[in-house]
């Protein structure tokens, strides 16, 4: 019996070749989306973590100083005085040029520079053994190790890097450090084997003295790596002076993780969405496939086939489809992952830390996971409708109206559940606004968003019925009986249409919610940019692209600027990565006297002039993000660890800021220098004298700097543009989301319209028989499809707005921590309408083309 049934199914598949293909495509797309996003996320984050771990080597602990590092003398005392193994280290990520002019950007090389002490480092990092090796050819006058140690500027370069850029021993390389080009020469190569184990690439080793010299850090090291047992480490920690502290390398990796926190949350949310979209696609296609067979099932039941046999048989078929579709999806997903990885890596590189774009490495764990998810979803998606279909009494299964009647009866109950979800959403949102746990807050926020979505989904059937009744009247006026028929069809096939409308509505709501959130964010950012970015010209070391906040202006450059007659005032801005209560934050030093009358900071309270007076007197400003994150108000104190141990600072004011999501403590340069040593200058704002034309001056300045300093000269307007470019970049990933939403919308509607037409073949035959022309039929299908789109958009307007509010006032405030003022954005609302209508009309094209195939005689013959 089962064999016969299987034959029956296979024949069905062959006859409905296109539907089968759609089904496979749906499964494959679903799996691909999940695999693509997840692989990309894992890849980008792992490649970063690997670099950190590789540099760490075998070190169990690290001794760190303040922002300026550890003075040489102190380092020497610690290393010689302690009983554990220890080695000093400096690190810098620089761009490099070979034999080329400085302006040449065609051959872009990135070098991870590590300054080590070759005598003690070999115990920590395998690859540093190269620094001790003697030259392989005996004829060389001096061994590689000795050259490395004795000759200033000698560097060991990783073999692969040298090969890739056709570099050989004794070649000179220019590296960009702190706005200046420095020279190193290749004294030897680091063997491939030692590096590939570590997973590090583009590495260059220099001796610690060379490092201090070219990094502009003479007299300091970044940190001291230590190999010590737990007890030894504890003793060591106790002996350290107040300005230093000991931590496990894992902390460093963790800190980067913390820094990337909001970005990871974004990706995580996107993965969730991808899984949801993928599962929805699969569910939709399988549901459609089974629905088409209701009638066949009814006949089989009449012939005496048991429900069990029908279910087993359908699941077997679903299994086959699931395996093939999921495998296809894995392939497609890897291709997608490549694209997404690029996006993710670029975003991380632009915003956080420099990452090399790496090719996608396959992760069998991820592949297996999503293969199984794809397969299980396929089985589940077919199990639900098939079990339902096979259970109804044989005669009833043929009649769809019984099912539809049930669906309409359920609509109010669903609506009740929907309202419950909305209440839950409100409670969660309020709870989350009151409770402050950062990560917990995120999940509460996410749960609130989910509850909003569920509420909207469950309200959809009833709203559809109500709205359709309304539109029925309008449709009658506009399109007569054709309009009425279209509206009624949506109503009577509620079990199918409501699912499609809900899916479309959900995608639209997400697009709208994101759109409103981004637009509001952009608006708030714009206000800030106008008030804070007021200098005529901004300057930044060119190597900030790779070295981030480690790229500093050399003191000579400041002197050079101070001599320029056209300049009225200079705002020296220094951002320093710092930690507060174990969390990454930034210390910002500014020229308070210069900016207090020139910039228009947005303070949450207090008199501007007084606030600035307090800052100049040694108090600090907190960014709004910092204040929210650590629950600080004006007048509260903040304890920061300084060179002289912990120190208490009073909060003079809180200001709105969008430059660092981690939050910042801002102070005058004098305050910074007293506590952390010489100011580090990372950006400079130049205010020109009134009569100077900033455009002309920017050109002159660039010319004057050429060949001496690698500094980007950015006129005010360009910087503002750049700010928005970075902003858009950080939301680039949401475009992927919009595409996903579009796909869902499209597939949801096309399968709903298709299933409506397939099930109504007979009705279509009658319509044709009583004189309805193709034009009128097309009109009906278009109205039906368009109406579904419009209904979805209607419901998406409040749902999306609610999602935006949750995102802005719950999720954002408790995780990303920006001040965003909700703004109604007309464009975002228009966007979902055209998305909905475009998806609906596009989805109608294929079904419309199939109308020609319906044979009237055959359609009305069957009963």
């Amino acid at each position: 019996m089962l064999r016969l049934l299987r034959l029956f199914n296979l024949r069905h598949l062959r006859r409905k070749r296109l539907e089968t293909l759609l089904c496979l495509l749906g499964i494959a797309l679903g799996v691909a989306v999940m695999v693509g996003i997840d692989l990309a996320n894992q890849n980008a984050l792992r490649s970063f973590r690997r670099t950190v771990d590789a540099v760490t080597g075998r070190a169990t602990h690290q001794i760190l100083g303040g922002p300026a590092g550890i003075p040489d003398s102190l380092a020497a005392t610690i290393i010689s005085g302690s009983e554990v193994q220890a080695t000093p280290l400096l690190e810098y990520v620089a761009s490099a040029r070979f034999h080329a002019t400085i302006q040449d950007t065609a051959t872009k090389m990135i070098l991870h520079l590590l300054a080590i002490d070759p005598l003690t480092d070999a115990d920590f990092r395998d690859y540093s053994i190269a620094a001790n090796a003697t030259a392989r050819s005996g004829s060389t006058a001096m061994s590689t190790g000795l050259r490395f140690l004795l000759q200033p500027g000698a560097a060991l370069v990783d073999e692969d890097f040298a090969a890739a850029h056709h570099l050989k021993i004794d070649d000179t390389l220019k590296v960009l450090i702190g706005a200046r080009w420095r020279e190193i020469y290749i004294a030897g190569l680091i063997p491939k084997q030692t590096l590939s184990q570590s997973g590090l690439d583009n590495l260059a080793l220099v001796d610690i003295t060379t490092g201090q010299e070219i990094f502009g850090r003479v007299g300091y090291v970044d940190r001291i790596d230590v190999i010590a047992s737990e007890t030894a480490a504890r003793t060591l920690a106790a002996q350290l002076p107040a300005s230093l502290h000991l931590e496990a390398p894992a902390r460093r990796s963790q800190r980067v993780n913390d820094m990337l926190r909001s970005f990871r949350l974004n990706l995580m949310a996107l993965s969730f969405l991808a899984v949801f979209v993928g599962m929805f696609l699969i569910y939709n296609t399988m549901m459609f496939a089974v629905m088409q067979r209701r009638k066949q099932i009814g006949i089989l039941r009449c012939l005496g086939v048991t429900p069990r046999q029908i279910i087993l048989n359908t699941l077997l078929e679903a299994f086959g489809l699931g395996v093939i579709g999921s495998l296809l999806g894995l392939g497609l997903g890897v291709v997608l992952a490549d694209y997404v990885t690029r996006t993710v890596t670029t975003t991380i590189s632009d915003l956080y830390v420099f990452l090399k774009v790496s090719s996608v490495t396959l992760n069998s764990g991820i592949l297996t996971k999503f293969f199984l998810i794809g397969l299980l979803t396929t089985l589940l998606a077919s199990a639900v409708p098939i079990i339902e279909a096979s259970k109804v009494p044989a005669a009833v299964a043929v009649r769809r109206s019984a099912l539809e009647f049930r669906a309409q009866k359920f609509a109010p109950r669903f609506a009740f559940a929907g309202i419950c979800f909305l209440v839950i959403a409100i409670v969660l949102a309020l709870n989350s606004i009151q409770g402050g746990e950062v990560f917990g807050g995120f999940f509460f926020g996410l749960a609130a968003a989910l509850a909003v979505a569920l509420g909207a989904i469950f309200l959809t059937p009833l709203l559809t019925l109500v709205l359709v009744r309304f539109t029925g009247v309008i449709m009658n006026k506009l399109a007569g009986m054709i309009g009425v028929l279209a509206a009624r069809n949506i109503q009577t096939a509620l079990s199918r249409t409501a699912v499609a409308i809900a899916a479309l509505m959900l995608s639209l709501s997400m697009v709208l919610g994101m759109g409103l959130m981004i637009a509001s964010f952009r608006g708030s950012l714009n206000d800030w940019v106008k008030s804070v970015l007021q200098a005529d010209i901004y300057l930044q070391p060119t190597d900030a692209a790779t070295a981030k906040w480690e790229a500093l202006f050399p003191p000579e450059f400041i002197q050079f600027l101070e001599q320029q007659p056209e300049i009225d005032a200079i705002d020296l801005y220094g951002a320093t990565a710092f930690t507060y209560r174990g969390q990454p934050i930034y210390l910002i030093a500014i020229s308070a006297v210069v900016v207090k009358d020139r910039l228009d900071f947005i303070f949450t309270q207090g008199n501007d002039q007084e606030n600035w007076q307090h800052l100049i007197a040694g108090e600090v400003f907190l960014s709004d993000g910092f204040a929210r994150r650590f629950h600080k108000a004006v007048g509260d104190t903040v304890v920061l660890s300084t060179l002289h141990g912990p120190r208490v600072f009073r909060t003079a004011a809180i200001f709105v800021d969008y430059s660092f999501e981690q939050g910042q403590v801002m102070m005058d340069h004098r305050t910074y220098t007293e506590n952390w040593g010489a100011s580090r200058i990372t950006n400079i704002g130049v205010f020109l004298k009134p009569q100077i034309d900033f455009r002309r001056y920017a050109v002159d300045l660039r010319r004057a700097l050429a060949g001496r300093f690698a500094v980007q000269v950015i006129p005010n307007r360009d910087l503002r543009e750049r700010v928005f470019k970075v902003f858009d970049q950080s939301f680039a990933i949401t475009q992927v989301m919009q595409i996903l939403a579009g796909v869902v919308a499209f597939i949801g509607i096309i399968s709903a319209v298709m299933s409506l037409l397939v099930e109504r073949t007979r009705e279509l035959g009658i319509l044709r028989a009583v004189g309805m022309g193709f034009g009128q039929l097309h009109q009906m299908v278009l109205i039906e499809s368009g109406l579904m789109g419009a209904l979805a958009a209607c419901i998406a307007v409040p749902a999306g707005t609610a999602l935006a509010l949750v995102m802005i006032y719950v999720i954002n405030l408790h995780t990303f921590n920006w001040t965003i003022n909700f703004q109604i954005n007309f464009g975002a609302y228009v966007q979902i309408w055209w998305m909905a209508l475009a998806a609906a009309l596009l989805a109608a094209i294929y079904p419309m083309s199939r109308l020609k195939k319906i044979s009237i005689a055959a359609a009305i013959r069957e009963e």
Partner: protein, 228 residues
């Protein structure tokens, strides 16, 4: 006047042909009430489908009044079905999503007739058929006989010259069936409609002016009834 010339319809493949109609010739005068009598599978429905333009013949020609139906393109056929033909089916074939009145008005609406006049006419037809009080009901709330009367009203809404009824009593009990046949007879007598009735019941065929027996796709016998 309706004329069928050498009309044939063959289903199936070349290797495995199913001859549904074979070389049928027939002339019907305007206003006649004709019965096509034969058992199931003899080709009655096929003939009606060809005549109504729902299906196309394999060969042969159909003339309805001056027009050659077999030469019409899809658009002309649609208009022909809408304006010239009224079709009544064995299974009523009302649209479940439309009310009784809406079902009746549908073909008229497709013609963009003025809405108020059309509605008046629809209600008038329903009244004539004795179901005006149910005009707001849904089809599945009516009995079979009532549904068939709605179907007849729908077939008449555009005032067609030719009414085709394919086993209209096949799904009704004999008493209700009788009532439907009387309605058809009075339409023929009082409204001068040309009516073709396909039936497998000799009793039903007796209501008409002329009876053709259909057998294996061919017209085999003709009974002219006295009285006309």
């Amino acid at each position: 006047m309706i004329r069928l010339e050498n009309l044939s319809k063959i289903y199936g493949s070349r290797e495995n042909p199913i001859v549904a109609l074979h070389d049928v010739n027939l002339t019907i005068q305007t206003g006649e009430f004709i019965a096509l009598y034969g058992r199931s599978g003899s080709g009655k429905s096929t003939l009606l489908n060809l005549l109504s333009g729902i299906d196309r013949p394999t060969s042969g020609k159909i003339f309805v009044h001056a027009a050659e139906v077999t030469a019409m393109d899809e658009n002309r056929l649609t208009l022909y079905r809408r304006d010239t033909i009224g079709f009544v089916f064995q299974f009523f074939n009302l649209l479940p999503t439309l009310t009784v009145l809406e079902n009746v008005l549908l073909p008229g609406q497709l013609n963009k007739h003025s809405a108020s006049k059309l509605r008046e006419r629809g209600l008038h037809l329903l009244a004539q058929l004795g179901i005006a009080d149910r005009h707001q009901a849904w089809p599945d709330q009516l009995s079979g006989g009532q549904q068939q009367r709605v179907a007849i009203a729908r077939a008449l809404i555009n005032d067609p010259q030719l009414l085709l009824a394919d086993e209209p009593t096949g799904n009704l009990d004999s008493e209700t069936g009788l009532h439907i046949l009387e309605i058809l007879k009075s339409l023929s007598a009082n409204h001068d409609k040309t009516i073709l009735l396909a039936t497998h019941s000799l009793d039903a065929a007796q209501f008409t002016d002329r009876v053709f027996q259909v057998k294996d796709g061919a017209l085999v016998a003709q009974t002219n009834k006295a009285g006309k």
